[in-house]
Every structure is written in C-alpha cells, then in structure tokens.
C-alpha cells in the first residue's frame, strides 16, 4: 500500500523517521520507450549517509532510473520504497515532497529569471501581506551560496551565466531543498577541478548529515575520491553493486563495457606540419584580449583554464559566432576575415560547441538530420537537391564508427542518451572533413569506452594533418591528448606548456595565476 | 471649415461611392476640408473617432454609423461638446429625439430588400423557390434586407414563394459563388436568388454559369447597382438591383453639416429614396454610381 506524498511529508516533518536498512530502494523496475527497453528488471538500493555512484555506458539507463525516482517518468513495472515504505511518485512534486531532489543531466533552469528566483521557485519567502519578499529571497540565496562557496550574484538573470555557473546554480538549488535523497546526474560535466572539489566538500558535509546521494559521472578520476559504493548498469540491466574498497577502476570499467580498456588516451606522436592557423592579438570587447597562438598541421593544442576563463569565447570568436573586435586570424599564412560560421566552414573549420542542448542538437529532428546538416553546406548536394542515399550511408558509417546507440537514423536525437547525442554532434563535424577542428569539451558526458574511441578518432584526424584545438576541463584528457597546452585565466593567455613539461600542478598554477 | 467624417468602413463599394461623392463635392467648395476616418466596422472605434474629432476642434462631424443602435451615445458626446453632428445613410435609432444641431440624411435599408424582392416576386409570377444570400450576420443592412425578403414572401400576392435556403456569404463575391455551388451540389432547387448585395449576386451568377445553368431560368437580384452589377444586367444575367443615390446622400450630408456649423437651421430628417433598377431602365443608371 503506497503512502501519499502528503502523509510522507508529514512523517518527514515530524522527525519520526521509521528505521529501515535502506533509505531508498527501487525494485524490479522496467521502463520501455518505443523501440528501446531502457530498464529491464533493475534494482537499486541507497544507504543513508552514503554516496552511491551509478556507472554505465551511454544509454545504459542511468538517467532513466533516476528520472523515475524523481517522479518524471512512471515505470512500467516495479516499486519504489522510501525508508521501507512503498511510495508512489506521480509527479516531480511528489518526489520533492518525499524528500527526493535531483540535479538533471541536461540543465533545467529558467533562463530569463534571476538566480534567486530559480532557486526558490515555489518556495519563495512571503512577507506579512502574502507578497514575495525579494530582499529576503536574495539574502537566503547569499546564505546558501556562502555555505556552498559559490560566487554568483543572486540577482543575475540565469541567461547571463556561463554553463559552469548554471551548473553551480543547479547544485545550489538541489541542495536548498534539504532533501533526504539527492540525485546528481553528471553534475560536474561542465566544471573544472576547482569547482569539483568544492562540490565534493559539499557532498561530504551532506553525507555527514545522513543524506543519501546518488552520483552519476563519466569522469572516472572523480569517483574513488567520493563514492562509497558503485552500482553498474549495462544495456538497461543491473550488473552489480560493490563497495568502493573492494574494486579498482579497471574492475568497474570491465563491468561497464564488458571487457578491459587499458589505453585511455591513445595519443600517438605525429610529425607536426606547417602552421595552419595563426591567431594574433585576438580580442572580443572586454571578454578576452591579447590571445595569440599558432596551430600546426597534426598538432593537438589543448586549452586549459578555470571556468569562465574565456576559453569558449575564444573558440566562438575563431569560428565567427561572435566576430572579434580586434586582432587577426590567418589560415595558411593568409589573413582571413571570419565574421560568421558560414565563412569559417568555407575555410574548412569545424566547431563542436560546449552546450549541446542550446547550440548543438536540433532536438526534435532525427539523428540523420542532425548529423548531415553541416556537411550539406558543400557536399552531397547538386542543384540544391540532396543525395539522400549517399548522405545517409555516410552518416550511418559515422554512427558505426562512433558506436552511436540508437534504434535507427530516424530516431529523434531528443530520445538518445546524453552521451550518444554528443557522439552524433561529433559525427556532424567529422563528416565535413575539416582542416581545423575546434572541440569544446568534446567528451562531456561520454562514457569511458566511447571516450577512448573519440580520442582515437581525434588522434587519427591529427595524423591526417588536421590542426586540432581542444578545450577541456578534464585534466587527464588535457594532459593525455595535447601536444601543447595553452592556459587561460580571466580572458588572457597565461602561458603555454609542451607535452613534456606539462603536469597538473603547472597547469593549475597558470590557470589560477 | 473642417468637417470630420467617420465612415463605417472603407472597403465597401456603396460607401465608397458615398464617400467619393462627399469628397468631390467638398473640393468644389471654398475653404472646406474633410478629415475622413475609417471606423473599420467597429462601434467603439467610431465613437473614439468622434472624440478625436472633438479634441482636434472640427466644426462639424458626419457619421455613417456602424451600428445604428450606438448613436445615442454618440449624439450625447457631440452635443455635450457643442459640435454639430449629421448621420448619413443609416437611420439612427434616436432619430426622433436628436438633440439640437443634429440631423440625418439616410435611407431605410428595409426598403431596398422590399424593392428587390417585390421585383423577384413579379418576375416569378408570385410562386417559386428562392434562396437568400446574406451579408455579414452582425451587419444591420444584412439583417434588415433579409427581413424584408421574408416580409414580402409572407405577403398575399407572393404567398406562392418559398424560402428554401438562407446562408451568409459575408458580402463577398467568391464566397457567394462557393455558396451557390455548394447549394447546387446538394441538389437544392431554386428559381430565384435574392442577395443582400450585388457582389454576392454576381458570385451567384458566376457559379450558376459554371454549373451550366441558363441564366434565363433563374432570377437573380441584388442591391447597390454597382458598375459590375449594371454590366451584368446589360449582359442579361442580373435581373434586378436597387439604386440608392450614394453621391447625393454624401452631398446632402455635407450641406447639412456646413449649415449647422454656421448656426443655420436644417431639416432633422432627410430620406433619400431607393430606386429599382431593371433591364428596362438600366441605361438611366449606368453613369450614376
């Protein structure tokens, strides 16, 4: 017999928490989408005061399970227990009232509203006339931010925040619910190590308060620092749960992908060619300035920096999304004026953006349409007509190469898991056969196996003489893949490190200056 | 003098002739400027236009009412401001209690419908099936003309006539054509089409011809005596229409307004008669509208 959310909320408030071994328990969960079984008889148990990592390849069903626990999807079968009591979760509100809060994989903020309004929505403090007390709301936000050590003005509209700061706001919002269960679906995909370590401090203190935390990530290096337990999923099936003391990183990877991955960064040394791209004194208003660097054929230039250091802005300017206010860009020694992406593509550049939802996916269109859109600029088209079969074959080939998990090319990209969406977008640019490839957080939200795959592809591109600029907030990726690392801080380049001299400490020193 | 004119709507053939008549006449007068506004068939807009005229300090106002029931409020606004007001073409509801310095030059819509229907009755010899094409349902002219059809059909000498269908085609020619085609395809039999205006009547003729009907077998009647209608009549397609002296009404209204502005007395009511147009007298009207 399921208890209503209201009853449960009353139980929570009274503080009379019935004891049970597990805080949260899901059993025999099955969820089917048209053409896909996302979860098949899956079980999951969360202990109080612990951090439980959920592991699995892209599309394994992690987010789906969490969305069920957050009241967003209804399972086809199975039951959910909170502290040993069956509960029904028909809406996100039910979950929140039952003390389950979630940070979603795709950012879910109200762009036009301020940070404070976003955090306290539905729980705004009221004054004695029943009207919203904005001052009090701001104050509470500051208090919260202070506790979490976040430096964001509560009155900023969210649309003016960088992706990383938005993610911090999401985290703060989830924490503000003071829930018993906190689900974090890839909370750090846009964060650098500094913010990640903040987050871990927060998580530890929450864990100390007896809260149960579910943590999903594809960043393997984070895991052992924070997780107490691991559950592994594969293809919608539950594989097993282990204490973090009992397993190694390789064990987990083996459970996730079914076999060993030994070489994480298949970087091969490639003889460097001519300078292809040369940037001098590039500036964009007050956002960044004095950015100068060269990239050679076959070279992978890693770009490191803290969140908000302006790396993405530089990339956007290079590609003509936000044309530079001063400085020059030369390709093959010739100065070029790149004032929009169309021109950039004509110069055979490609740019994988950081925010796949806002500037990447054509969400309601299918995989094929998403993948082919950039290449149609100059290939597979004659007299305006698209060579359907040829382009479909090319896309299919690319999907196979990237191991995109999708029922078909005709599936809406919206229905793919986050990691698979990212692969499709990478495929979009690889198809254009670029000479200059700009990647902004290319493996954001990508599982280990696929990550190795993407790294291998990037290396291969470099081998063929492509100049690669790779922005990444993941230190091992930067260190493992780059020939040279450019470090930025507050809109300026603070230094270059060669592959040989680069270490995590040196990069961080330059990045925080 | 500046005279403010608020027309019910601009894109109506008949009212266009009235308006042009007024404007042409104003050009022949010295020192008379007309400020003509389009109320776009909106009562509230018309009322606001009158208030705007008052604010702009015109010497007199001519109103072609959108809704003749809304004239009480307008009369009050104008008389409170002390500015003369003349209603034109449509008879205001407060015709018998008009304040000082107000008058009207109008015609009774119901007469138009009566004239056309009586002619149809005559042509059919008092018996047969008729269909009615109505203008916009919310329009007063449409209502009055339609009512007239029913009144005539109920009269003794036309008892043999029967209204088999009545539908709206919103004054529009193509909608009229589509409506008649839809009737024909539904097997509705009729001997006469009585239309609230000429445009729909012409649409009916087009549809009947397209369906291969001989126009001698069907009586078609409209109202307005527009150029197109007179041409259709001369071609033997249209059997009756009704002429009202639009330009004359415009001229009369302006004269009245100017007199009132000068403080002179005018008749409170001026009725402009309708005239039936048939193939027999069509020549007399060709140059008129």
């Amino acid at each position: 017999m399921a208890v209503s959310p209201a009853t449960m909320a009353a139980i929570r408030k009274s503080g009379a928490i019935p004891n049970a071994e597990f805080l949260l328990m899901a059993e025999g969960i099955r969820k089917e989408f048209p053409g896909v079984v996302a979860l098949d008889d899956v079980s999951f148990r969360l202990k109080r005061g612990s951090v439980h990592a959920l592991m699995g390849e892209n599309g394994a069903g992690k987010s789906t399970l969490m969305k069920i626990l957050a009241g967003i999807y209804k399972p086809d079968r199975g039951r959910v227990q909170l502290r040993g009591v069956d509960i029904r979760l028909d809406s996100p509100l039910d979950a929140l009232e039952n003390g389950i809060a979630m940070i979603h994989q795709e950012l879910n903020l109200m762009a036009y509203m301020t940070v404070a309004e976003n955090i306290w929505i539905r729980r705004e403090p009221l004054n004695r006339f029943g009207l919203i007390d904005h001052g009090e709301m701001s104050r509470r936000t500051e208090e919260l931010f202070h506790r979490l050590n976040i430096a964001i003005d509560p009155e900023t509209p969210v649309k003016e925040l960088s992706v990383a700061n938005r993610q911090m706001v999401e985290i703060a919002k989830a924490v503000s619910y003071e829930s018993d269960v906190l689900i974090m679906d890839e909370p750090t995909s846009a964060l650098t190590e500094r913010e990640v370590s903040h987050l871990f401090q927060i998580i530890r203190s929450l864990r100390g308060q007896g809260i149960g935390i579910v943590y999903i990530t594809h960043k393997m290096n984070e895991l052992f620092e924070i997780a107490d337990e691991f559950s592994v999923f594969r293809d919608g099936k539950y594989i097993g749960t282990h204490s973090s003391k009992d397993v190694t990183r390789d064990d987990i990877i083996r459970m996730m992908v079914g076999r060993e991955i030994t070489q994480m960064f298949p970087k091969e040394d490639v003889p460097l060619g001519e300078i292809i791209l040369s940037v001098k004194g590039l500036a964009l208003g007050s956002t960044f300035r004095d950015v100068s660097f060269d990239v050679r054929a076959g070279e992978i230039l890693g770009v490191a920096g803290l969140v908000g250091s302006g790396r993405s802005n530089v990339a956007e300017t290079l590609f003509g999304v936000t044309p530079a206010t001063s400085g020059t860009i030369s390709i093959d020694g010739k100065e070029v004026a790149i004032d929009n992406p169309t021109t950039a593509i004509r110069h055979r550049m490609a740019f994988l953006t950081e925010d796949r939802k806002d500037t990447g996916c054509l969400l309601i269109l299918d995989v094929l349409e998403n993948m082919q859109i950039a290449v149609l600029q100059d290939k597979f088209v004659s007299n305006g007509f698209v060579h359907e079969t040829a382009v479909a074959a090319a896309c299919e080939d690319m999907c196979r190469k990237l191991r995109v998990k999708t029922p078909s090319l005709q599936e809406r990209i919206e229905n793919l898991s986050g990691g698979n969406q990212q692969k499709v977008l990478i495929g979009r640019w690889l198809l254009t056969n670029p000479r200059i490839l700009i990647l902004d957080e290319p493996t954001r939200g990508i599982d280990v196996g696929a990550k190795a795959e993407i790294h291998r592809l990037v290396t291969e591109m470099a081998k063929q003489g492509v100049a690669v600029i790779m922005i990444s907030s993941e230190m091992p990726e930067i260190l493992g893949m780059s020939d040279r690392i450019m470090v930025m801080h507050e809109g300026r380049v603070t230094g270059f490190l060669t592959r040989e001299e680069a270490t995590q400490v040196k990069v961080m020193e330059l990045a925080s200056h | 003098e500046t005279i403010g004119v608020s027309m019910a709507l601009f894109d109506d053939n008949f009212l266009t002739v009235l308006r042009s008549g007024m404007q042409d006449y104003a050009k022949t007068l010295d020192g008379v400027t007309l400020q003509v506004e389009d109320a776009q068939n909106d009562v509230a807009k018309q009322q606001s236009q009158i208030q705007n005229f008052i604010a702009a300090g015109v010497d007199a106002i001519i109103v072609n009412p959108v809704d003749t029931d809304a004239t009480t409020a307008m009369s009050k606004i104008a008389s409170d401001a002390g500015i003369p007001l003349v209603y034109v073409n449509r008879e205001p509801v407060n015709v018998d209690s008009l304040p000082d310095k107000q008058a009207f030059v109008a015609s009774e819509e119901i007469v138009a419908g009566t004239l056309e229907t009586k002619e149809v009755c005559r042509l059919l010899g008092g018996k047969g099936n008729v269909v009615i094409m109505m203008g916009e349902l919310s329009n007063q002219g449409a209502r009055m003309r339609t009512k007239a059809v029913h009144d005539v059909v109920a009269a003794d000498e036309c008892k043999g006539m029967k209204v088999v269908e009545e539908q709206t085609a919103n004054w529009q020619r193509t909608q009229g054509a589509d409506l008649v085609t839809n009737w024909l395809s539904s097997g509705i039999e009729f001997d006469a089409v009585i239309s609230n205006n000429d445009e729909m009547a012409i649409g009916a003729i087009q549809a009947l011809k397209a369906a291969g009907k001989d126009m001698k077998d069907v009586v078609v009647a409209g109202v307005d005596a527009t150029q197109d209608a007179l041409a259709a009549m001369q071609a033997g397609d249209l059997d009756a229409t009704v002429f009202q002296d639009a330009a004359g009404q415009g001229k009369g209204a302006l004269d009245a307004a100017l007199k009132l502005a000068k403080g002179e007395e005018v008749d409170k009511k001026v009725y402009i008669p309708f005239q039936l147009v048939t193939p027999a007298n069509v020549k007399d009207f060709v140059a008129k509208n």
């Binding site: 036009y112 919203i132 003005d153 | 809704d67």
Partner: protein, 342 residues
C-alpha cells in the same frame, strides 16, 4: 595528490556593488515620449497648436485604447507563459452581448428578456465577467489537458465565441441599457478600470507566486515542472484570468457604446498582442511586464489621436500605423542590443 590543495577559497560574492539594472520598459517608454514629441513638433508646424496640452485629447488618447488595454493585461500573462490568446476579441463581442442582454431597461420596447429588465448593475457585469472567465477556462483546460497548441485552442474559441454572439440574438444589437450599467463606460471610467486592472496584475506578476510560476512556465516549462509546479493547473488559471479580463473588456465596451452588437471586438486580439509585444513581452515566453504593456497600449492610442490631429489622410493612416508599430519594436530591440553590448 588531493585536488583540495589546488583550490584557493578566494570566492567573494560582490553584493555591495551590485549592478543597478534599468527596467527594460524604460526603452519603450522613451519610444513613447519620442512619438509624442514628434507629434507635438509637427503639430506646431502644420496645425499651429499643441498636441499634448489639450485635456480632451490626453483623455481620449487613453480612453480609446482602454478596452484594448484591459485585454492586453490578460494577453500579456498568457504570452509570458509562452502561449497566445486569439480569442479575446471574440470574447469581447460575446460577453458584450450577454451582459447587455441583462442590462436592458424596461423603457426599451424591444428588450430581449422583457421580464429581466432593470436589473441591478452587478448582474449584467457579473454575467459578462463570468462568461469571459468560462471561455478562458475552457481555453485553459483544452490546452492543459489535450496539449493542443494554444494557437489552435484559442482560434477555435475565437470562431466559436464569434458564432455565439451572432447566434445569441440572430445578429440583432442589444440596446436600451440602463444608466446604472452604462455608467462604467462614461467619462474616464474605462481608463480607471484599465489602470486598476493593470496595477493589480502588475503586483500579481511581480510579487506573488502566481507571477513567478507564470514566468517560470514560459521560461522553461520542463524546469518549471521538475521544480514541482503543477503546470497544467497554472495554465488553466492564466487562461481563465485572460478570459475574465476579456469579459470585463466586453462589459466596458457595451457600456461605452450603450449598445452591444455581434461584431464588437473584431481584431482586438491583434491590437492587444501588439501592445504587449511593443511593450517588451516576448512571444517566446518568459519575459514581459504589465508596465510595458500599458506603455505599448498608450502608444497605440497616441498614434491614433495623432493621426486625426495632424489630419493624416485615412488612406495613409493604416500604412503609417503598420510602419510605426514595426519601427517602435525595431527601436526597442536596437536599444536593448546596444545596452547589452556595453
């Protein structure tokens, strides 16, 4: 190596020097001032009199758009949720007819319900407002329950409500209204009603949860839903309020004209939407303010009065009106972009 040692806890929240933001409707207010001044100038040049220093004109400027304004307040809220309401003009027509039919005086020979004449004023007013509320409620239920696009739901209501007003008295106007009832349409009462309504919903949007929910749904309906907002229920509320305001507008229209006819309110929805958008409400949802809508409404009124004042030929009026609407929004967009760049 633990990453903690790499982090300097150097994050301060700069609250003291928080950037003062100009309210976004400042821009469009300047546009309004600009238009008024141009008229003033042209007035002295061509007509030899002041445009603004005329009590009568200042009144009619707002009076003639106050019905549009009342609707626009409701429409603004609908647009903020990311929806649209095409039915408001027709609802004005329908509610004008309905309320007028209960406001007839016994001295009127053609009363629709001869036994229901001389009713106290609150009955016809209540009938009009409730009928509007009901129409809006149906819109809201349709949109929330069946998930059809607001455009279609309200288009359906637009056609249906217009049909009802024509059918109700078979096209006959309803006249002979009591003075008690028509009072609300006389003098500057419509303006008072408009500004009162605007104030109430300005407060509601800015200082109540109702308002926050409205913005949240428009900004990101997904996010609103996962924040625990019952999106469906809230949408019904918003559409019902918009319908209610259209009903109130219908009452005012009938009272002002001292009659009601089926053709009332045609195309008002477009003017109302234009007023909201000119005032900065984004059709994509999530942004907009009542103050902006009020200014947008007044721009429409000033424009109309100015045309008559400058004796602009009616044939050109529409052409110029179209261009001014576009120009006003262009100026606004341009100024906002410029400010954003700074």
């Amino acid at each position: 190596m633990s990453s903690e040692s790499l982090v300097k806890p150097d994050l301060k929240v700069k609250t003291a020097h928080r950037r003062r933001r100009m309210p976004p409707e400042m821009n469009i207010f300047l546009v309004l001032i600009g238009i008024a001044l141009v008229y003033e100038l042209l007035g002295w040049i061509f007509v030899g009199q002041s445009f603004l220093l005329n009590q009568q004109r200042l009144t009619i400027m707002i009076l003639q758009v106050s019905v549009i304004g009342i609707i626009a307040v409701g429409v603004t809220q609908v647009i903020i949720t990311g929806g649209i309401d095409l039915s408001s003009g027709s609802v004005v027509g329908m509610t004008a007819m309905l309320s007028a039919s209960f406001a007839q005086s016994s001295t009127w020979p053609r009363a629709l319900y001869p036994s229901l004449t001389d009713l106290p004023f609150f009955i016809p007013i209540g009938v009009g407002i409730l009928a509007g509320l009901l129409a809006g409620y149906i819109n809201g239920q349709l949109i929330a329950k069946t998930k059809i696009p607001p455009f279609i739901a309200t288009l359906g209501m637009m056609v249906t409500a217009r049909g009802i007003s024509k059918w109700y008295t078979k096209g006959q106007p309803v006249s002979g209204l009591t003075e008690q009832f028509t009072f609300v349409g006389t003098s500057i009462w419509p303006v008072v009603v408009f500004l009162l309504v605007a104030t109430i919903f300005h407060v509601a949007l800015r200082y109540t949860r109702y308002g926050k929910f409205t913005y949240a749904i428009g900004a990101n309906v997904q996010a609103a839903r996962v924040s625990g907002i019952d999106v469906e229920r809230h949408l019904v509320k918003v559409y019902a309020i918009a319908g209610m305001l259209a009903g109130l507008a219908g009452v005012v229209t009938a009272a002002r004209a001292q009659t009601a006819q089926a053709g009332m309110g045609v195309m008002y929805e477009l003017d109302a939407i234009a007023a909201a958008v000119i005032g900065g409400t984004s059709l994509a949802g999530g942004a907009g303010r009542i103050t902006g809508t009020v200014i947008g409404t007044i721009i429409l009124g000033v424009m109309t009065s100015g045309f008559t004042f400058l004796r602009v030929d009616a044939y050109y009026q529409e052409i110029v009106k179209g261009m001014i609407i576009v120009a006003a929004v262009v100026t606004d967009v341009y100024r906002q972009k410029k400010r954003a760049q700074r």
